[in-house]
């Protein structure tokens, strides 16, 4: 399937979304900057090129499902949902505020387009399996997408879900691991080594695809490939840079759960605007 949107169009959208994310976090005064900025291209590929959805009717029977298992990066998801028209962009500035439809971690009873409530890591892949099974019971073609963090994969329940998806040959599932090599306490390989991550998923009978997680073309191609895989779930391991797009946040462990203050916000916006100019 060809890209519905060109790489240049999407790259521009990614920068716009990053500006939204730093603005949201600055206004909120808290939230997860690193993971949010790093997962933008993954979400954009899915929401612009891959998944079937209808922002005007989030419960559309024929929609594909997306589960954000790493719920803490919801600022990026909220920015995507707003830009796709699930709710007004003005709502973004209420993130984490009392009475907001945008909770600190995703809650599906509050936010249009959010399917399940996540934030306690290690549950989203199981939820995805359940949806995939339900679709199969009802002979429906809807597909299920799930985004996990690499640190999150240390949760044992993720591997239970890995076994389940493969055991039941859930080829209507395509999950992505945001492989940014960082978690809260440091580098994943130092905190609790995950390698060889690719071989682990292969050994669990998943179809595995490695991609550059900041290249929307590569990501889209991977998701297209997943649609052709029969009898197996697909895991896309997306190599990313945590904090991507803002130099002083990139690859910084300390920026995991932090929001930019006013000064940092200005610096970040200047960088992103400069990147936008360069893109033309």
């Amino acid at each position: 399937m060809p890209m519905k949107y060109s790489k240049k169009e999407l790259d521009k959208i990614c920068i716009e979304l990053r500006k939204d994310i730093v603005t949201m976090l600055n206004k909120a005064g808290s939230g997860h900057a690193g993971g949010s900025l790093g997962s933008v291209e993954i979400l954009v590929s899915l929401y612009w090129n891959v998944i079937k959805h209808n922002p005007k009717n989030p419960e559309w029977e024929e929609r594909d499902y997306f589960i954000l298992s790493k719920g803490h990066v919801c600022p990026a998801w909220y920015a995507v949902l707003a830009r796709r028209g699930y709710f007004s962009r003005e709502e973004l500035w209420t993130l984490r505020k009392f009475g907001s439809i945008l909770q600190g971690h995703p809650h599906h009873l509050k936010t249009p387009g959010v399917e399940a409530s996540t934030g306690s890591l290690g549950q989203g892949l199981s939820i995805s399996n359940g949806i995939a099974m339900a679709m199969r019971f009802q002979n429906k073609p809807n597909r299920v997408y799930c985004l996990l963090g690499d640190g999150e994969v240390q949760e044992g329940a993720v591997w239970e879900a890995g076994m389940t998806a493969a055991h039941y040959k859930l080829d209507n599932i395509c999950a992505t691991i945001d492989r940014n090599m960082l978690q809260i306490d440091g580098i994943t390989e130092e905190v609790m080594g995950l390698e060889n991550l690719e071989e682990k998923w292969r050994a669990f009978n998943w179809h595995v695809i490695n991609v550059d997680g900041h290249n929307v073309e590569e990501l889209t191609k991977a998701y297209d490939e997943a649609m052709t895989v029969k009898g197996k779930p697909t895991m896309v391991i997306a190599k990313t840079v945590k904090g991507k797009g803002v130099s002083f946040i990139e690859n910084q462990v300390d920026w995991h759960g932090k929001a930019p203050n006013d000064e940092e916000y200005k610096k970040a916006m200047a960088e992103l605007e400069e990147a936008e100019r360069r893109l033309g």
Binding site: A116, Q123, S126, I131, A132, A134, Q138, A157, A161
Partner: protein, 327 residues
């Protein structure tokens, strides 16, 4: 005073058949397999014990074996519910309410997903397997969760009615079942209203509010007490959450003293739930019978029930104590 006819209980409390309440779960699932196309049954390698094996044999295409992976089972159930199915998750109480609590909390209850949980092996009467398998803590773990409905059926017939109702009810539901054969005291004709605590015996001196198999012991205790001129009201409180406040408060007002009895820890179970109602609406002297703050141990079910005070004698003793407090 005496047994309420309209409850259509068994004729003779001293001549009753016995069956594990979990059989009621298995029977209900068989019915649901025929009648409700949305129902799917999940198990975590305990299908024989949870009685889901009966469903598996008849409806293999609607049975999902999850392997020994309770956390995965519960979050997957959330996804199944989101996708339009009604999953019944089945395993032992310890392994579901304990091991998978966070999945039940965040994915199922916070998300208001329509998931049913059959938690087996509640209580000390699990017997020789010992403390690891005797679940004495599920009630507070489940009832503290917003949106969760918690049932503790008294016998196999009621256990079946509860599970059938759970399939109709929209919302997370936990049903506490037991392993051992216990007296069947209700009949097909016994009314089952999920939101009502049923008065099985009238009396105005003291109210015995019980759940599970302790309802039977409560009825036996009331019979003995009547011989001494003490008229005890016996209430089957099969629905621990939401609690039928009206019936409980009426019992406090009209009887002036309450004894609760359950095969569960004395902390946070039926007793705790009744106390929360009583102390805020109509405080009266109260006693909570259950497993004192400790783990169970191995033994034959019957000897454990006696040793841990899960008996009519212990109820009688507590009734007398609470009556002393009353005046």
């Amino acid at each position: 005073m005496g047994i309420v006819k309209e409850m259509h209980l068994v004729e003779d409390l001293h001549n009753v058949n016995s069956k594990p309440t979990r059989d009621g779960y298995g029977e209900a699932l068989l019915i649901l397999g025929e009648t409700n196309p949305k129902v799917v049954v999940m198990d975590a390698d305990l299908a024989k014990s949870t009685r889901t094996v009966w469903f598996r044999e008849k409806f293999p295409e609607k049975f999902i074996d999850m392997g020994i992976a309770e956390q995965d089972m519960l979050a997957t159930a959330g996804g199944l519910a989101l996708g339009g199915m009604i999953p019944f998750c089945s395993t032992y109480g310890v392994f579901v309410a304990g091991r998978a609590w966070d999945q039940i909390r965040t994915t199922i209850c916070y998300g208001e997903f329509n998931v049913k949980i059959g938690g087996m092996h509640g209580g000390i009467s699990v017997g020789p397997d010992g403390a690891t398998h005797q679940s004495l803590e599920e009630v507070p773990l489940m009832r503290v969760l917003p949106g969760m409905t918690v049932f503790s059926p008294t016998d196999a017939i009621e256990g079946r009615k509860v599970a059938l109702f759970a399939a109709e009810h929209i919302g997370p539901t936990y049903i506490r079942y037991g392993r051992e054969a216990v007296p069947i005291i209700t009949t097909e004709e016994t009314p089952f209203n999920p939101w009502k605590a049923e008065v099985y015996r009238t009396g105005d001196d003291v109210a015995i509010i019980a759940a599970g198999t302790l309802v039977y012991e409560g009825l036996l205790a009331a019979e003995e007490l009547a011989k001494e001129g003490i008229e005890a009201r016996v209430i089957n409180c099969h629905t621990i959450k939401p609690m039928d406040i009206e019936t409980i408060v009426n019992a406090a007002k009209e009887c002036g003293a309450i004894v609760t009895a359950e095969e569960h820890s004395v902390i946070g179970g039926l007793g705790g739930a009744v106390a929360e109602v009583i102390c805020q609406h109509y405080p009266v002297p109260m006693r909570i019978i259950g497993i004192e703050d400790r783990f169970g141990e191995s033994g034959e079910p019957e000897e454990l029930m006696k040793a841990f005070g899960m008996s009519a004698e212990n109820i009688i003793k507590n009734v007398k104590e609470v009556l002393d407090m009353k005046e």
